[in-house]
């Protein structure tokens, strides 16, 4: 019995943020609208059985399976890149990395698990790999593993489950590493859901704007703006207004009287640089809190010099985080992701081993299946031939069951040595 499953050879070629500068990456970048066409074109290159293209801001990778290790892809891929992207192979070669077989599997698992990302643990990459896989399946560049002898389809499905395992068994993606998302995380630790919360922006600045947008995305419903120039405050409020958000302007001279309406205050005036007092002092904070009946309040002070007196943090119910504090939390989270990444690498290594073990046993499984099917067909054939000779009358159900059991037992005993030999993994020391 011979297997009709001839394992394909894997090759992964690509550039990413560590090997290529942005001007190289942007020349290879493929927009979602062109991804289907590019994948189809790659799959039609000579010698290539299946193909997948992953194109994100930080990487462009080409994963192919081909029939013969000696043939094509090493030459075909540079030609494809040259023809499709009009990039000369010489300018590209120094930035390209290439992985084959086991290393290609490992790389794909690492990419899907976000271990190879610029921000380790970021969640978008898995969705991007899935999107590339969907496109490749739609254009027929990857066959379905159920219908054909596809090697990329099971590989990618395995990559998705490895990524899922990494997410569930490690804390790699559980903490925020950007200032704005750290601020949102902290707000969540204080208020839980941000749904219905009120955010007050004091002053103006890109970072304050970004943090406010993050908080709104997480459910904050009311946005108040206060600025020394009321017109500027109105402009900011208008820019952030959406149908779902209520915005309002608080005149700067009424800031302290109205601040109690806000759960989260983002300050970025830098007022004290011009010799003016800080915008919020402990005394004012106590008054505001009293008006809020001691409901907690979160001050995000992005200004340098600071707008909120650090002593406000000592007031019960007030939480003050300045830019250094936020950066420190982000750095702690980043360091923690590094530790979690080590655990994730171990999971990936184990999964690569397991995948190869399964791949190695695939021909044997197929052979066993074929052998059992042939034996069963023979048994049925012999049973049908012998039944007429056994008795003129049809056999009773009990007799039929006895004959059936006898033939099954004989077949199983005869097949046992062959099946055992097929199930035993080959000894690597033994010559072919």
């Amino acid at each position: 019995v011979t297997s009709n499953l001839k394992p394909a050879t894997l090759l992964l070629v690509g550039v990413n943020h560590t090997t290529a500068p942005v001007d190289v990456r942007e020349r290879l970048a493929i927009s979602p609208a062109r991804l289907a066409d590019a994948t189809r074109t790659l799959a039609h290159q000579p010698g290539i059985r299946e193909a997948l293209i992953l194109s994100t801001c930080n990487r462009v990778e080409f994963l192919v399976s081909h029939d013969d290790e000696q043939q094509a892809p090493t030459e075909t891929l540079p030609h494809f890149l040259h023809d499709y992207f009009a990039v000369s192979p010489d300018s590209l070669t120094p930035h390209l990395y290439e992985f084959r077989e086991r290393e290609a599997v490992r790389h794909l698992f690492r990419v899907a698990s976000s271990l190879d990302s610029m921000v380790v643990g970021e969640p978008q990459i898995l969705g991007q790999v899935k999107q590339s896989w969907n496109v490749a399946r739609e254009v027929g560049a990857i066959g379905s593993s159920a219908a054909s002898a596809s090697s990329l389809d099971p590989l990618l499905q395995r990559a998705f489950s490895v990524a899922k395992r990494v997410r569930s068994e490690t804390q790699i993606g559980s903490s925020s590493v950007s200032i704005a998302s750290v601020a949102v995380d902290l707000a969540r630790k204080i208020f839980g859901s941000l749904s219905g919360k009120t955010v007050l922006i004091v002053g103006a600045g890109k970072m304050a704007d970004l943090a406010a947008r993050h908080l709104i995305q997480q459910g904050a419903k009311t946005l108040l703006v206060s600025n020394r120039t009321e017109l500027r405050a109105q402009t900011i409020a208008d820019a952030l207004r959406t149908p779902a958000i209520t915005t309002g302007v608080i005149p700067f001279d009424q800031l302290h009287a109205e601040s109690h309406r806000a759960d989260i205050v983002i300050t970025s005036t830098g007022a004290s640089s011009s010799g003016e007092p800080q915008v919020f002092t402990p005394h004012q904070a106590r008054e505001i809190l009293q008006r809020r009946r001691n409901r907690p309040m979160f001050f995000i002070d992005i200004a340098v010099p600071r707008d909120v007196d650090p002593a406000v943090n000592k007031v019960e119910g007030c939480f003050v985080y300045d830019i250094d504090d936020l950066q420190q939390v982000a750095a702690q989270n980043q360091a923690s992701r590094g530790l979690e990444a080590q655990a994730a690498e171990t999971i990936v290594s184990r999964e690569v081993d397991r995948y190869h073990q399964r791949l190695g046993s695939a021909p044997a499984v197929e052979a066993i299946k074929q052998l059992q099917l042939s034996a069963e067909a023979l048994r049925q054939q012999e049973l049908a031939r012998t039944a007429a000779r056994l008795s003129a009358e049809p056999l009773t159900p009990a007799q039929q069951a006895a004959v059936d059991a006898l033939t099954r037992s004989l077949t199983a005993k005869l097949l046992h040595p062959q099946l055992t030999a097929l199930r035993t993994p080959p000894d690597p020391a033994e010559p072919d």
């Binding site: 569930s168 068994e169 804390q171 559980s174 903490s175 902290l186 969540r188 630790k189 204080i190 208020f191 839980g192 809020r292 009946r293 001691n294 409901r295 907690p296 943090n313 000592k314 019960e316 119910g317 939480f319 985080y321 504090d325 420190q328 939390v329 702690q332 989270n333 923690s336």
Partner: protein
Amino acid sequence: MSLLWLRVAVLLYGIAALAVLPAALYNRPRWRHIAVPAALAAAFFHFVSLAETFYAAHRALPVGSHETLSVLALLLAVAFLLLAARYRTVAFGIFLLPIAVLLTLVPAFHAGRETLAYPLAGPAWIFLHVALLLAAYAALLISLLASVLYLIQERSLKSKQTGPSRFRLPPLETIDQIALRSLLLGLPCMTAGLLIGSVVALETTGPAFFADPKVLLSLAMWAAYCLMIFIRQHSGLRGRRAVYLSSFAFVFVLAVWAANQLSAVHRFTAP
């Protein structure tokens, strides 16, 4: 047989109490998947054990400290499960599950031999009196624990040590909600429990019942409970002062419990 179920429950409470530590301290979901089902199974066996005990003794209320503590432990375990289901937090299990283990350990391995000294009038009312008061105690304990957890979370946020490996607690507002809701739930339980007890006592013992230290302390406890809710609702008291206030009310509960030993009329077990 009931003792066997109780021992199984103690074992499961122990497993849940251990599993809840990594689940709550390091946010490990796998351990959460052990802690919650183990606590659920423990509560089930515990209930079966109590039901068998009461059925065999032909009564529907706990007699003696062993049984009373065992019922309280079951209420605390149920409270943990409700909090885990409603607020997706197992942090309360760090305290509630070990308490449940401690409260069931003695009854499981040293069963009480107490019996009722005399048949009680209106057993259904007495059952309600006991159940409601135990529920009120459980609510007060949860409120105290919530205040402590609030304080820990507040300190953690103020110290700015909020790295990923830190103690994973629910958000401050959620903890505060739990503290207040448990108090608000406990107040009608305590009020109804005391009222039922007073009416039954008036019918059986007469006005002399109200001169008993246990009864007087119970009324003081109710007043402290009301005062605590009023202060919390009125001023939005949170954090350190809320812990002090809850501790103050809890001291009353302990005093009421201890007063059983001094009470002349509130004793129902046969000598």
